[in-house]
């Protein structure tokens, strides 16, 4: 996993140790930094991390920042989700879970009046262009980048759908045997059940 110290420090403004010291201290707490790469002035360091499967919570930037906050006894500011409160709708978009054993909960939110375009740096600490460039993460569009940003920040996988192109609602089910599925990369895959 690739982690930017620049992004970690955005979560932990009080962090005063050097990047090298941070790498060593994290490694000795079991959050192993396997390699460090200097990204140049002002860009901090890229950590190549090997995080064991008991620490899924630390497989993202906020999780590593949480670990660092615990190591140095620093306050960790909560993430600020500056979204307007959701309004309930007369006609909620239908989501049906058929594979209840595999999906216990499905969370979604409808956003109207979104203009798809290039991502901007939304707010301080969310420098999408800089972070993505340093991580060599491709920028696609503001909607897709937001989904990827949430994943890199919190480890939460999400997906954005274009409501205009969806028909009949979202169904969570197992594939039918031999069902064909075209992925985002354009690869057609044959699924088993």
């Amino acid at each position: 996993m690739k982690t930017l110290t620049k992004w970690l420090r955005a979560y932990l403004p009080a962090l005063s140790v050097s990047d090298a010291q941070l790498a060593e201290d994290l490694t000795l707490r079991g959050i192993a930094v396997e390699g460090t790469f200097d990204l140049g002035p002002g860009n901090g360091t890229l950590f190549e991390m090997d995080i064991t499967t008991n620490r899924v919570d630390a497989m993202n930037h906020y999780g590593v920042a949480r670990e660092a906050a615990a190591i140095y006894g620093l306050p960790l500011p909560a993430l600020d989700f500056a979204l307007p409160a959701a309004k309930s709708s007369d006609k909620p978009y239908p989501v049906r879970i058929e594979a209840e054993d595999a999906c216990g909960r499905f969370t979604a939110r409808v956003l109207h009046n979104v203009t798809i375009g290039e991502s901007r740096d939304w707010f301080p600490g969310a420098e999408v262009s800089t972070y993505f460039a340093l991580l060599e993460q491709k920028k696609i569009s503001n909607a897709v980048d937001a989904s990827n940003f949430a994943w890199l920040a919190m480890g939460q996988p999400t997906h954005v759908f274009d409501l205009d192109k969806l028909e009949g609602g979202i169904v969570v089910r197992r594939a039918r045997k031999g069902e064909k599925f075209r992925t985002l990369e354009g690869v057609e895959r044959v699924l088993d059940s």
Partner: protein, 368 residues
């Protein structure tokens, strides 16, 4: 070799003929004595006895041609007698000659040095495996083995990899086909580590346990310079009363010093294995540069070599289903595991893991 025959003055007297025939016979015997190989004997026979160009035939025609009539009959008899004698002589030579040749072909020259047979040698992997097991045998460990085709229960579940746990994904597993109808824990797979033998051993005997487990393991990995889909591990398990992490450190530090020399240092880093808690990665000071930092240790001075930890109580709980003695309140233990190829590669300076499996005599001969 012969007296020149002259038609005018040849003496056909009985005495002279006797002398001439005796001389012919002596010449033939002399020539025969010098002929040794089968080819020489055959050439000699043809020269003397040949029907058209044979010397005997020519001489007999010549003598008979000018012989007085009364001398022809005894002369013919004498020629026939000589012919019979020489035929016998050449036949005898021939048979003796072929026996000699056969004997010569079979002859053993007892003064020659013996034909050297290649000495068999231990394969470097076997050698390293034996070396490792010997180190632990000297500490009182016995040797345990188990099957390479394992059930999901022994390979994963009883080692505290619950169904669906992401740790399962870290061991790319080769599974036996067509097992979908069996319960997950009974499904067969190729063991991904030697750890299932820990559980098999604990199920078969009450504590204390000190066991070292050498064996072959399988992963669905592509082969490259340092990875092979089939490789070897040595696993260790020690369970008793009052076993602590310092016992683990002491044991492994001793083992690494026994393996790489007494100047080698060890250090322990936190890690994670589902079947141990806490878990650690063990690094040894670089055996190439002594810890100063070199290309082999990526300038860190340390090389990561094995994994270990204190046996997780969840593992003891599985063992206690068959052997109630494995009560985590009363006993504790440690386990460790290491890759044999990696150790052999370091010990013998081998850069390609594939060299172990290629069967190249030029490679293997170096370990004789």
């Amino acid at each position: 070799m012969m007296t020149q025959v002259n038609q005018d003055d040849f003496d056909y007297s009985e005495a002279n003929l006797a002398k001439e025939f005796a001389s012919l016979e002596a010449s033939a015997r002399l020539a025969a004595a010098n002929a040794t190989t089968p080819e020489e004997i055959e050439n000699l026979r043809l020269a003397w006895m040949g029907r058209k160009q044979g010397f005997l035939q020519a001489r007999s025609s010549q003598w008979l041609k000018y012989a007085p009539p009364e001398a022809k009959k005894p002369l013919g008899q004498q020629f026939n007698a000589l012919k019979a004698l020489l035929t016998g002589l050449f036949d005898q030579l021939k048979s003796e000659g072929s026996t000699d040749a056969a004997l010569a072909a079979e002859a053993i020259d007892i003064t020659l040095p013996g034909t050297r047979r290649l000495t068999g040698a231990e394969h470097p992997i076997t050698k390293t495996l034996n070396e490792l097991t010997r180190i632990f045998a000297a500490l009182g460990y016995s040797i345990g083995v188990g099957p390479e085709v394992e059930t999901d229960f022994y390979n994963f579940e009883s080692m505290n990899f619950p169904p669906g746990h992401p740790a399962r994904d870290t061991q790319d597993t080769l599974v036996v086909a067509n097992q979908d109808r069996r319960p997950l824990r009974d499904r067969l797979l190729l063991r991904t580590h030697t750890s299932p033998v820990q559980m098999r051993t604990m199920e078969s005997q009450p504590p204390p346990v000190r066991i070292v487990i050498p064996g072959k393991v399988h992963r669905n990995d592509a082969q490259d310079a340092t990875h092979s889909p089939i490789f070897h591990q040595v696993e260790g398990l020690c369970v008793d009363k009052n076993i602590t992490f310092s016992d683990l450190k002491g044991t492994l530090d001793h083992a690494m010093k026994a393996l790489f020399g007494s100047s080698v240092k060890t250090r322990f880093f936190p890690s994670f294995f589902p079947f141990t808690e806490p878990s650690a990665d063990v690094q040894i000071s670089c055996i190439f540069c002594g810890g100063k930092g070199c290309r082999k240790c990526k300038h860190s001075g340390w090389i990561e070599l094995l994994g270990c930890g204190m046996v997780d109580p969840a593992v003891f709980a599985f063992a206690a289903e068959k052997q109630p003695g494995y009560d985590p309140k009363r006993i504790s233990g440690f386990a460790f595991g290491m890759g044999v190829e990696r150790i052999a590669m370091m010990k013998y300076g081998i850069s390609e893991i594939g060299s172990f499996y290629a069967g190249d005599m030029r490679f293997l001969g170096q370990f004789a």
